[in-house]
Point group: D2
Amino acid sequence: MAVFAHRNPVMFQHCDPAGIVFYPRYFEMINAVVETFFDQAVAWSFHQMHIVERLGVPMGRIAVDFHAPSRLGDVLDWTLAVDRTGGASADMVIRAAGGGEARLTVRGTLVLVDLDKMKSRRWPDRVRAVLESYAEDAA
Amino acid sequence: MAVFAHRNPVMFQHCDPAGIVFYPRYFEMINAVVETFFDQAVAWSFHQMHIVERLGVPMGRIAVDFHAPSRLGDVLDWTLAVDRTGGASADMVIRAAGGGEARLTVRGTLVLVDLDKMKSRRWPDRVRAVLESYAEDAA
Amino acid sequence: MAVFAHRNPVMFQHCDPAGIVFYPRYFEMINAVVETFFDQAVAWSFHQMHIVERLGVPMGRIAVDFHAPSRLGDVLDWTLAVDRTGGASADMVIRAAGGGEARLTVRGTLVLVDLDKMKSRRWPDRVRAVLESYAEDAA
Amino acid sequence: MAVFAHRNPVMFQHCDPAGIVFYPRYFEMINAVVETFFDQAVAWSFHQMHIVERLGVPMGRIAVDFHAPSRLGDVLDWTLAVDRTGGASADMVIRAAGGGEARLTVRGTLVLVDLDKMKSRRWPDRVRAVLESYAEDAA
C-alpha cells in the first residue's frame, strides 16, 4: 500500500491580496503532483505521454474540500493515493498538509484519452499495475 | 428567479499543449464569474470587499464535472445561480457552455470571512437579499 | 496612423499579497492585447493561426518599463502601435494607463514562425499591410 | 564573484498549444528565481519581507531576450548575478539554459519599496553586502 509524497513551498506567485493561496493556484499544484506522480512513480513523463504518444489524463471530475488557508512561506506536504483503478480511469485522493495541519483534500477522476480522437483508452497493463500498487488502504 | 450570465473567450493563455483549456485556468474563470457577479449583481466589488472592508469569499468546497473540452477561440457562456443561502455561506451552481454544448458544471460553497480574524461572518442583509434573488428554480 | 485600443479590469487573479498587479500577470495581459489585435485588427485569430495554419508569433525580445503600480479594481486602457514591420518580425509599442496615469510601456519584437519547423516566415502581404497601417507616428 | 544557481523543470502548466513555454510563465519562473535568491542567498524570505516587514522588491524595468524555445520536460538551469547595486535598487542578470543551450537572458532592475507608502527604501547594509557579493565579473 504505497502512497506517493511530494512537497512544494507556497511562493509569492500563489498568493492573493489576502496573503493566502488563491485557490486556482492549488489546481496548478494538484496538476504538478499528478504530473510528478506519473513521471516518478509510473515512469511515464507528460512529455512522453502528451507529445510522443499523443495521450492525456484530463480530470473528468474533481472535488476539493479546503480545510484551512495556506500562507506565503508555508511548505505543503502532498500525498497521492489511487482509490480505484477503472478500465480507462483512476480515482485519486490527493491531500495537502502544512506543518501537520490538513489544508485540502482532493478527490479526482482521471481519464486516459487519445488526444487526437478525444476518446478514452484503456490503461496499458504496466501502468494499471503501478496505479493499483498505490491503492489507499480502505481502512 | 434570476440567473447571472457572463461570457468569456477561450484565449491562448488558457490552453495546454493538447490545445484545450488547462483545467486550472477554468478555476481562474470561475473566480472571475464570481467576482463579476459580486461586482455587477451584488454591487460589492472585490476591491471594496477585500481592501476596504477586509472581507473575502473563499471557497470552502468546490466540485466540478467536466463534460467536454473547450478549445482556443471558443466562447464560453457562463451562468451562476445560488442554490442555498446560509448564514455565512452560499451554495452556487455555475455552468459553462460553448456553442450550446455543456462544458462544465461547478457546485461551490462560498463562505464570507473576516480576513484579519479568518473567521466566518454573517452576510449583510442587503447582500443576503440579492443572493436569495438568484436562487435557481428547484424544478 | 491607427492605434489599437483595448481595455481590461484588474481582477483578483492578477494581484499579489501587496494588493497590486503581480508583474507576470501583466505579460498575460500583454499577450491578450496582442491576441485581440490579431483577431480584431488583422482578422487572424490565434485559433486560425496556431491550430489551422500552424504558425505563431512568439516574442523574440520584450522590454517593459513599469511606471506605477496597478491595483485591484483599476481599469487598464491599453494601446498597441507597430513601430516597424520587418520581413518576418514586427516591433510593437504597447502602453497601459489607468485613470489617465501611465502604468507600463512595453517594447516587444514579434516574429512570425512556422511552429513545426520553428523557423521564421515572411508576413503574408495582407498581414503586412495591416501591421503597417498601425505604425505609430514618429513625431 | 558568486553566481546564484537554480533549477526547475518545464512542466505542463508552463506550456502553450505549440508545446513550448508560454512566455508569461517565464516571468513566474524569473520571480521564483529572485524569490529563492532572497530566501537562500540573502536569508530574507518573501514572507518575512512582505508580510512581516511590509517591504517588496518589484521590478522597475525588465528586458528579456528569448534565444530558443523550451519544451515540456526540459530542465532549466538558471543563474542570477547582480550587475550593479544602487542605493535602493539592484540590476540583475538572470539567464536560463536547457541542456547547455541558452534559452533566455533577463536584465531587470529591482527596487526596494515600502509597500504601505509605495516609496523606495535604501537596502539594509547586510542585504547590500550580499547583493554586492553576487556581482558578475565585468570581464
